[in-house]
Symmetry: C2
Subunit: 185 residues, 2 copies
Amino acid sequence: MSDTPERPAPQEPTLDEQIAAYQREYRDLDPQVEKVVSALGRLNRRMNVAYGRQLADLGISNAEWEVLKTLVLSGAPYRLGPGELAKRLGLTPAAMTHRIDRMAGEGLVTRDRDENNRVRVIVELTDEGRTKWLEAMRMATDFEEELLQDLAPEERVALGDALIRLLRRVELTQPDAGGRLTDLD
Amino acid sequence: MSDTPERPAPQEPTLDEQIAAYQREYRDLDPQVEKVVSALGRLNRRMNVAYGRQLADLGISNAEWEVLKTLVLSGAPYRLGPGELAKRLGLTPAAMTHRIDRMAGEGLVTRDRDENNRVRVIVELTDEGRTKWLEAMRMATDFEEELLQDLAPEERVALGDALIRLLRRVELTQPDAGGRLTDLD
DNA sequence: GGATCGAACTTTAGGATTGAAGTCTTGAGG
DNA sequence: CCTCAAGACTTCAATCCTAAAGTTCGATCC
C-alpha cells in the first residue's frame, strides 16, 4: 500500500475554496468581509514576491530598495540620519546600522559623521544609488501599470478611495505606537 | 541655540504628500496607480501590526496563527505533514521543523511519526490549539468587521471584486514558481 | 569649566529563516 | 537478500532582525 496519488501540487486553495472551508469550521463568518481581507493579504504577498524577483534582477534586495525610496522621497540632497531612516522604515536603529553597512559597501550610499554634530551620522545617496532607484522605479511602475490594466480609470479611483478609507479606519483604531513591522501575510 | 523643536514625530508622510514627493522626483508617474499601490502596501502593513498585537495578547505569534489556520482549514482530523504545511505556508521545510518544535512545546500541536510510513511525520492540532485558533478567529473577525465598517455592503462587494481581479492578474503575470515569501512591506 | 543627563549610534546576544548538507526509511533492481 | 536511489525531515552555517546593553558626543547645571 501507500499509493498517495501524489496530488499534482497541493498549493494554496482557491480563494473561494478557502472561504468555504472557513465557513465549515466557523459558522458566523461574513464571506464578504473575509473575501476582502483574504484577497488583500494574498495580493500583497504576491506583489512582494514579484517585486523581490524583479529587484533581484537589478541586483538589489527589497530591503535595499526601501532605503533608496526613502532617501529619494526625502528630496535633494538625499540625506538622512540612520535614526530617521529607521523611523520611516519601521526598523530598529540596530537593523539600520547593518543595512547601511551593506549598502555603503555596495556603493549605493555613503555614511559620514556630521561635522556640525559629531554624534550624528549622515547617510547620503550616491549617484549609483540614485541610478539604481531610477531603474527600480521604472520597473515598479511598469509592473504596477500592468497590474491595474484590467481596471478602468474610474474603477481605479474607486478602489483607491476604498483602500484609503480602510487605511484611515485602521490608523484610527490602531494608534500606531511606533509601527514596528511584526510579521508577514 | 540648539532648540531642535523636536518634531512631534517624523513618522510616515501622508499618502498624498508621499505621492506628491514621488511626482517631484519622477515625472511620469500615474498618481492614480501609485495611490492604489501605496495604499495597499500601507494597509497591509498596518493590518499585520494590528493582528500581531492582538495575537500577542492571546499569547501566540503571527507565525503560530498561520500554522493553526492552515491546520484548521485542512479540515478534521486537522493533521498535515511538515512538508505539506511548509508548502501551504510558503516556508522552507527547515523553518517548519523549528516552528513545529516550538508549537509542540507549547502544546498547540503534537508531532508524531506516521506508523504506516515511518519517514513521514504527522502534525496534529491539539484541543488547546483549536481553542487558541477559535479565540484568535473571533478576535480577527471582530477586527475585520470594524475595519470595514465604513463601507456599505455593495462597496464591500465592489472592493472584493476589484482585489480579486488584481489578484488574478498578478497570478497570471507571475507564475508563482513556488511562492517563497521574499520580503516584507 | 567639570560632572551629569540625554541623544544618536553601534555592539552583542538571541530568535527566525533560508539554502545546503546529512540521516533515516521505503521501494526497486539484481 | 543486498544495494542503491529517492523522498521526507532534520541539522548546520550564514543572514537579518529585535531588544538590551554599551559608547561617544553635546548640553545643561552648578
